[in-house]
């Protein structure tokens, strides 16, 4: 069964169609890559799926139930959570407290939340910094914090918005391993990424957005050999 399904989703900002008539389904346990040039509407699509923006048209189903119009907190409690392209650490709080906020989504007990949070910090490798104030973290660790925090909400579907953006190759590799680990744990993921090598490597299937429209969908091999995609987007790098 598809864990997430989009039917004819459109989002308009005034006259601008940031997403127009986007439909696709996401199979459980898979990693779906979402690619497209800057301004293609990838982040906007995440915003619509998680309820941060109301969609202008279309319907969204999560685990078979309509979630169109639900607020982000409800969506998170249902098991779908996203990271932010521009990271949003709770800067005046400690690294541990940041992740505990995520964990408290599933428990009312602080000690239980603390345990869940420490576990997720170990998963991303931030546990030595649990007592640090989030403000002082460099970008690589902020991205990891963002990952630990969403993992602590015990999601079934993770939406990752450019979690490798601004990272050096070694840091990116760590994130790639993390994403593959998360897949092993049975969590479905949709990943926006600009690094083509990385996205081709981790994705089971890829959706290509261009000017808000779905241009193509398929396996990585199908996408690189799709002439339309190559012309519109991959042109320079994969020619």
């Amino acid at each position: 069964m598809a864990i997430l399904e989009l039917r004819h989703v459109s989002k308009f900002f005034g006259g601008l169609a940031a997403n127009s008539d986007v439909s696709f389904a996401l199979e459980e346990g898979m990693i779906k890559g979402l690619i497209g040039p800057n301004g293609a509407g990838k982040t906007t699509l995440f915003n619509c799926i998680t309820g941060y923006y109301p969609t202008s048209r279309g319907e969204i189903f999560f685990k078979g139930n309509p979630i169109t119009g639900l607020q982000p907190d409800r969506v998170c409690r249902l098991g779908m959570v996203r990271t932010w392209q521009k990271v949003r650490p709770l800067v005046k709080m400690s690294v541990l407290d940041n992740v505990m906020v995520g964990a408290l989504c599933r428990t009312n007990s602080l000690s239980a939340a603390r345990e869940i949070a420490m576990e997720q910090l170990r998963v991303v490798g931030l546990d030595p910094k649990s007592g640090f104030i989030a403000e002082g973290l460099p970008i690589g660790e902020r991205k990891k914090l963002e990952m630990a925090r969403v993992l602590a909400t015990k999601p079934e579907l993770l939406l990752l918005d450019e979690v490798m953006g601004g990272l050096n190759p070694a840091e990116s590799e760590e994130i790639i391993q993390l994403i593959l680990d998360i897949k092993q744990r049975g969590i479905t993921q949709m990943v926006i990424e600009h690094d083509m090598k990385a996205i081709m490597r981790i994705s089971d299937r890829i959706v290509v957005l261009n000017s808000g429209e779905k241009l193509a969908e398929g396996t990585p091999a199908e996408i690189v050999s799709n002439q339309e995609v190559v012309d519109a987007y991959l042109g320079e790098s994969h020619a």
């Binding site: 607020q71 907190d73 959570v81 939340a113 925090r149």
Partner: protein, 360 residues
């Protein structure tokens, strides 16, 4: 079960030295009226406690949840008016009236919150001011109910009795002293509990980043309104206490924007989002404003022999400084905000840290 384990975690995190200091302060405060007899000293202490209650109440919403309400006079005034009207017109003693006041303030908070929390940042601030102003104008114009601009004067406070035993008749300042002290301790305890609970985490997450908090499963409206309700209930207790203690209320004092700003200043001066902040702010602001109001500065200068009372300077200061107390107060506040953006508490903390660093 989890409540007990949480409580244990909190208890274990308390350091023995801190606990000793706390107990010593508590005992001194309890013994103060027995040792010091001056009613003026009692009065100053009562004003400090009242200020702690006001500041700490605002702190829950402004400091922890990051919603800068500049309309808390609405809740202060609601408490003051509810208690006073019940006492004067219905002969309901204030220790019952104040609960009615708190309930009314919570109802008011939910109405104001449901409107104002749609807005963020400076728009929320403006809306909170507007809400309080509407309340002030309503109180001014519903003369049959509130006695309008003339205000309400408390004729007499009924004695507090348990059975036939008279606990206190409120004739001296001492019963007010203990009442204010207990209220202040209560709101501090509530803040401690909130800070060490899921609610506190959620409040702070909202303060740090509303969108991030929202995406992590936090119901923004629910938690902002909860925070406001707690804040409003205790602010209204402060208002009820003020009404009975001062014995007179009118819209231009208890419902004014001055009052709202005063409440915010306690936290800004002390340091927002910490338990000690409003306490420090009160310890700075209350004596300062009293000293300026009663022109202690001029008296000090004169008695120290720095200016003679007969000299033109002395006469000028004596004549004008008392009137200028609001101005001086304002200037001092601006200076503190400019040079101590994290409040007095944050300033001291940074100084200590800097010293530790230079020592190590």
């Amino acid at each position: 079960m989890s409540m007990i384990s949480e409580a244990l975690v909190i208890l274990r995190s308390i350091k023995p030295a801190g606990l000793l200091v706390f107990l010593a302060v508590l005992i001194s405060l309890a013994a103060f009226p027995l040792v010091v007899e001056s009613p003026y000293a009692h009065h100053i202490m009562i004003l400090i406690f009242l200020s702690v209650i006001m500041g700490q109440s605002w702190n829950i919403l402004g400091g922890y949840t990051g919603q800068y309400s500049v309309g808390h006079a609405a809740y202060f005034g609601t408490g003051a008016y509810t208690t006073m009207m019940l006492m004067q017109y219905q002969q309901v003693p204030p220790w019952f009236g104040m609960f009615a006041g708190a309930a009314t303030a919570i109802a008011m908070a939910l109405i104001i919150g449901s409107i104002c929390f749609r807005l963020r940042g400076p728009y929320f601030v403006l809306a909170s001011i507007a809400a309080a102003e509407i309340l002030r104008l309503s109180a001014l114009n519903t003369k049959e109910l509130t006695n309008g601009a003339e205000g309400i004067l408390a004729t007499d406070i009924p004695p507090l009795k348990i059975g036939s035993l008279v606990v206190t008749d409120f004739l001296t300042k001492v019963p007010f002293y203990y009442t204010a002290l207990v209220f202040a301790l209560l709101i501090i305890a509530v803040t401690c509990i909130v800070q060490h609970s899921k609610l506190g985490f959620y409040f702070q997450a909202i303060r740090e980043d509303q969108d991030a908090a929202h995406s992590l499963g936090i119901n923004l409206n629910l938690h902002k309104n909860l925070s406001l309700a707690i804040s409003a209930a205790f602010t209204s207790l402060a208002g009820s206490f003020y009404a009975v203690y001062i014995g007179f209320i009118d819209p231009t004092t208890v419902l004014s924007m001055d009052m709202s700003v005063q409440i915010v200043l306690i936290c800004i001066i002390g340091g927002i989002g910490t338990i000690m902040g409003p306490v420090v702010g009160s310890l700075v602001l209350v004596p300062l404003s009293e000293a300026l109001r009663s022109n202690l500065i001029t008296q000090g200068l004169i008695s120290a022999g720095l200016v003679s009372e007969e000299s033109p300077v002395g006469a000028f200061l004596k004549e004008n400084l008392a009137h200028a107390h609001v101005l001086i107060y304002g200037i001092l506040v601006v200076v503190v905000i400019l040079y101590m953006p994290e409040g007095v508490l944050g300033f001291v903390r940074n100084m200590v840290r800097a010293r530790e660093r230079s020592n190590s």
